[in-house]
């Protein structure tokens, strides 16, 4: 009769109470795993979509560009640098972008737009826009005078694929320039910021428009295979360039609204998790304490028989550990099963939000894939198990302080 066997049998003496406690722990952990995994999945997808439309997880740009974006603040897109970057195992691909502001005009009107000159051969494999073309097709010729526009802009300017529009902007010399371009395709992301005001053009056409050299770009972006590598990669890549001419930024500096949204939303999620866990811990503590208070006579007998107080404390600790372990097994198994299922198959929210949803100006994918990691399961399980053990300390102490003579009287 080992101490563990005694503890195991003891917790099943009150089967209902043990089941309720194990279920509480299990349910709480299940919810925590799902909440965190889904939130992480949504954030990861948001970041991924955003960096793929824009300049990647890490980007090279002119040091002055962030403070006063202007067409002439460019970097040299060095072939050797790109090759070196693409040789890194962490790097998925690089992309050169030309950014600018302008006006898109048609017979139906004029709209101020954000211009993005892209390399079609790169973007077609990496940008979510390429997959969201609902009319026409995506850009393919890097030098053609073609545009990809959002569905709202197309409706406003009454444009369809094949029709022409005029793009007006100021070139690097400050001169007003206009170019005629043909609509190659129309995309729909579901976010007004993109669908109504975003125009993609081939990078060669953009360079002509702004009068940039063939190796010049506003940004050289780096897409990483794993977004978690960004904090480490950014300072590492910064050492490759002359900081007077080029600065290396992370996506969170380039899209501060998205980064702060994720921080704030993550923070409020964190508070919710804490509240949920506190409620669970209160239930666990209550149950452990009740189980000790109800068994005062049993503990008095054990002490009367000569059980060392330390052994009795160990028995109560073992009971807490077993309950915590069972709860963690139930919660983590359920959480892993549900989050794991949706990680593979995705949770389709499109029927709930047919109009789509945007976060900080970025369209949120309504096919949500939670991000379940062993690390998440390990720290959540470890936290709940550890706290369960801590919560068992007070009941454990109470058990050995039973006034034996009074209780047995």
């Amino acid at each position: 009769m080992s101490l563990l066997t005694l503890a195991w049998r003891s917790i099943w003496r009150n089967r209902r109470r043990t089941l309720i406690t194990v279920s509480s722990i299990g349910l709480g952990l299940f919810l925590a795993v799902c909440f965190i995994a889904f939130a992480d999945g949504i954030y990861a997808k948001l970041i991924d979509d955003a960096v793929r439309i824009q300049a990647g997880h890490v980007l090279f740009e002119h040091p002055a560009y962030r403070d006063a974006p202007a067409a002439d603040l460019v970097v040299q897109v060095d072939v050797a640098l790109r090759r070196r970057l693409e040789g890194l195992p962490e790097v998925e691909r690089t992309k050169a972008l030309v950014l600018g502001q302008g006006v898109a005009k048609s017979a139906a009107g004029a709209v101020g737009v954000a211009l993005l000159g892209v390399e079609p051969a790169v973007e077609v494999h990496s940008s979510p826009l390429a997959a969201r073309v609902e009319q026409g097709s995506y850009l393919d010729d890097p030098d053609a005078a073609e545009v990809l526009i959002g569905a709202q802009l197309a409706a406003q300017l009454e444009l369809t694929p094949g029709k022409k529009l005029v793009l007006a902007t100021n070139d690097v010399h400050g001169d007003l320039v206009e170019e005629l371009a043909r609509v190659k395709g129309v995309f729909r992301l579901g976010a007004e910021e993109f669908d109504g005001f975003f125009v993609q053009v081939p990078i060669g056409f953009a360079r002509r428009l702004y009068d940039l050299g063939p190796d010049q770009a506003t940004q050289l972006g780096v897409l990483l295979r794993d977004a978690d590598d960004q904090p480490a990669m950014q300072p590492r890549l910064a050492q490759w360039v002359d900081p007077r001419q080029v600065v290396v930024r992370g996506w969170d500096e380039v899209m501060p609204e998205l980064a702060s949204y994720i921080r704030v939303d993550g923070g409020s999620n964190y508070v919710l998790q804490v509240i949920l866990l506190v409620l669970i811990f209160f239930t666990i503590f209550n149950t452990l304490l009740m189980s000790v208070l109800e068994r005062r006579r049993e503990f008095a007998v054990l002490l009367a028989l000569g059980t060392p107080p330390a052994r009795l404390r160990l028995q109560i600790l073992a009971e807490s550990a077993l309950i915590g372990l069972l709860g963690c097994l139930v919660g983590l198994s359920l959480g892993a099963a549900v989050a794991g299922y949706y990680q593979v198959h995705g949770l389709d929210l499109r029927s709930l939000m047919p109009e789509g949803a945007t976060i900080s100006g970025f369209a949120m994918s309504l096919l949500v894939h939670p991000r379940l990691t062993l690390e998440l399961l390990a720290w959540l399980g470890g936290l709940v198990f550890g706290v369960t053990l801590l919560l068992g300390l007070y009941p454990m102490q109470r058990a050995t302080q039973v006034p034996v003579a009074d209780v047995l009287r």
Partner: protein
């Protein structure tokens, strides 16, 4: 004969103010090794308190308690637990078997705490259960046993570690007279066979008649110490 327990001027009071109960008043008592003694007296006379003092389950307000020559009232809780584990066995009125353990495991429990090796434990517990007439019931849990059977398991548990002293608080109170008499027979046999000292409290005239030594407690004082014949002549 050697004294196994000695009480000198032991007093114990419960409650405060008007609710104060003087459970024991300056009790002096010596019990010799191998004694088979009963503490008798009306309810509230201090029988249980006296047993608790001897078993290091409670501390006196005044006086000293010696068990095998060792003063035990100032021992720490852990040291008192060690003393009970090594030298004292208990039998309770309400049996107080551990409900999650079988009859075998209940009897084995103290040996386990003492660190006795598994084969030796098994040999001793099986022999004991046979001795108390429960050989075929070793795997039963307390709720599967009758009151008499549970009390036999409790006796087996109390004597498994071969303690010097067994304290039994009204061990037959919840048993019918036949079962109670059989239990006392068993305790007498163990006392004679192993020389274990037994001190038990009782209200039952038949049970007290089996004791070789009787202690009458009245309002916390020992007012008679002698044999049953002398006790029976008391007014």
């Amino acid at each position: 004969m050697e004294a196994i327990v000695q009480l000198s001027g032991v007093s114990k009071r419960y409650g405060e103010g008007e609710l104060t109960v003087q459970a024991l008043q300056e009790v002096d008592l010596t019990l010799e090794r191998g004694a088979f003694a009963a503490v008798v007296g009306p309810s509230g006379s201090g029988k249980t308190t006296l047993l608790n003092m001897l078993g290091a389950l409670d501390r006196p307000d005044a006086g000293q308690v010696h068990v095998e020559g060792r003063e035990i009232t100032r021992l720490s809780r852990a040291a008192q637990a060690r003393l009970r584990l090594q030298r004292i066995g208990f039998v309770f009125q309400a049996y107080n078997l551990l409900p999650v353990l079988t009859a075998y495991e209940n009897a084995e429990y103290v040996l386990l705490l003492q660190g006795v090796r598994a084969p030796e434990r098994r040999r001793r517990v099986l022999a004991l259960l046979e001795r108390v007439g429960l050989a075929g019931l070793a795997d039963r849990f307390p709720h599967q046993l009758s009151g008499g059977q549970q009390q036999r398991v409790a006796v087996a548990r109390a004597i498994a570690s071969e303690p010097a002293l067994v304290l039994a608080d009204e061990p037959t109170a919840n048993l019918d007279s036949r079962t109670g008499a059989a239990l006392i027979d068993l305790m007498v046999e163990l006392n004679q066979e192993k020389g274990t000292t037994f001190l038990f409290s009782t209200h039952d005239q038949h049970v007290m008649s089996r004791a070789r030594q009787l202690l009458l407690l009245t309002d916390g004082r020992i007012t008679y110490a002698g044999n049953y014949a002398g006790y029976a002549l008391l007014p």
